[in-house]
Amino acid sequence: MRFKVMMRRLYYERLAFLSLIYLLLLILLSIIAPFIVPFDPEAQDLNNIMAAPNSHHWFGTDELGRDIFTRILLGGQAAIQAGLIGIMIPLLVGVPLGVISGYMGGIVDDIFMRVVDAILSFPAILLALAITGALGVSLWNAMIAIGIIFTPQFARLARGQTLQVRREPYVEAAKISGSGPFWIMVRHIFPNIASPIIVQASFSFSLAILVEASLSFLGMGAQSPQISWGGMLHQAYSMIFVNPLMMLFPGIAILLSVLAGNFLGDGLRIAIDPRMKRT
């Protein structure tokens, strides 16, 4: 499907289109956040500890008197990075492996699919946790772990799609006209399986944000002074009996971003195949 057609159809899926705008804004905000935030994220306003939202501190302050609005904006960086790395690694590693496996077929494909099935039988978050634990606890390693656990899913999807298109007339024609397998995969197979992969990437983006938040919440991701929404919730949890309000905004930030990724995925799926709309 042509990209333009897809975008035009997406435009008519209002919720999905709004989500796309939200996500693009979020990416933009996280890039310019360091320049526009109203406070220093580590500055402690000790006269205003655990303040409720007010005109000065829009989202209130935490138990050290740090501005929560500032920290939410900066925490978006970790979420966006996790989302992007979480889909880049599978796109760069999983998709090519899946295409090759599906195109080649035979014993290589059998073994490859068994390995993919095996990795997929691990609970995603547990495997991410274990990989982070092995690599060493840090935000960067958590993001790599997220990328690794999403890779088999993309590989399986790409392989399945490749199986569907590899007997198509245009692939046969390319073969007859003497194109090598590498060229066929790059030029003919990949463009024709891209749509479902884009849909999957959208869902994985939001799942990556969720997993990053979970890992940071457990102390396995962002380490102070790195800021992450999950880390902010960890901090809010220790203050839950004192100031329950602290957990409000980081949670909303995660929820909205995950929702946006899911809505975008749903919308893209309909944009690609309008018959999906019924369900």
């Binding site: 095996a118 039988s121 691990f122 978050i125 946790l129 092995a134 979970s214 919440f217 329950p244």
Partner: protein
């Protein structure tokens, strides 16, 4: 026929078992640099390092290391904790029961809410009931479960004081306290599953209710609930069996977060602790047992699906 079907499923599971154990074992290869040094820290003595290398078999070639680890694991020996020195298998199995109770309750929640929402939603499409069901279907898959947990703790523990914020009582010790301690964790654990089941069951019910035999059932004079109960659900529930298997794995993973929030001494909490303490044999043990449980559950759901669906031939 059925026996051959069973045999084929078993032949599928065996290589899966081998590969998953290989993956669990390979986790140790991800540790950058010298694993012994990384696990014990910089100020470890040379004797301690040598002892750990011998314990983990790090002085042998990798394939031999795997072989030793696997043969020991098959005999139930998963090594000893680097931190407390207790047997990994003992620690894991005492916690297995706790996690199992929480996950079982979460599964019940998922199905109860999933069925309720899906059915109320298809009874009157586009009514307010339908919108509520769809709203929860969307929200449940996106809400961070630990955030939901915090909200519920504030509401039910801090404000109302009805339920404990943390801790766990086993069902065999005190059934009432068990229900109190498990209500919030398993609800948070089950919210994702409830949403998944709602979404899936709703769309498969809608599809089933449009089919010819449902129209026949109506024309026989059956009432709406009779049609849904006797003809709709029975056919629409089938794909949910597979979902249940997937959900089980998902929930088992999510215990890592939920058990930490509610301070429940289960497998998930053990996994988190063993990473924070760099207790690698323990981590491997937890991951291995969890994935084994998932493989067993997947095997069972596959077989159940095969038995339930007459359209699947045992060939």
């Amino acid at each position: 026929m059925f026996f051959r079907f069973l045999l084929r499923r078993i032949f599928y599971v065996i290589p899966m078992l081998l590969i998953t154990t290989l993956i669990v074992f390979s986790l140790i290869l991800l540790i950058p640099g010298d694993p012994a040094l990384a696990l014990l820290g910089d100020n470890a003595t040379a004797e301690k390092l040598a002892a750990l290398r011998a314990q983990l078999g790090l002085d042998q070639p990798i394939i031999m290391q795997y072989w030793h680890w696997l043969t020991n694991a098959i005999q139930g020996d998963l090594g000893r904790s680097l931190f407390t020195g207790e047997y990994v298998s003992d620690a894991v199995f005492t916690r297995l029961g706790v996690t199992f109770q929480v996950v079982a309750m979460a599964m019940i929640f998922s199905f109860a809410f999933g069925l309720l929402f899906a059915i109320t939603s298809v009874i009157k499409p586009n009514s307010w009931m339908d919108y509520i069901a769809r709203f929860f279907g969307v929200l449940g898959t996106a809400i961070p479960n630990f955030w939901l947990a915090m909200i519920l703790v504030v509401l039910f523990s801090v404000h109302l004081g009805w339920l404990p914020a943390t801790g766990f009582t086993s069902i065999s010790d005190h059934p009432v306290d068990f229900m109190k301690s498990v209500l919030l964790p398993s609800f948070c654990l089950g919210s994702f599953g409830a949403a998944q089941i709602t979404r899936q069951l709703r769309s498969s019910l809608i599809e089933v209710l449009e089919s010819d035999y449902i129209r026949t059932a109506y024309s026989k004079g059956l009432l709406l609930w009779q049609v849904i109960w006797k003809h709709g659900l029975r056919n629409a529930l089938l794909p949910v069996v597979t979902t249940a298997g997937l959900l089980f794995g998902n929930m088992l993973g999510a215990t890592v977060v939920i058990e930490s929030v509610f301070a429940i001494p289960g497998m998930g909490q053990l996994a988190v602790h063993s990473i924070l303490q760099r207790d690698f044999p323990m981590l491997q043990g937890v991951v291995l047992i969890m994935v084994l449980m998932i493989l067993i559950i997947n095997f069972i759901t596959d077989v159940i699906y095969g038995v339930l669906d007459p359209r699947i031939e045992f060939e």
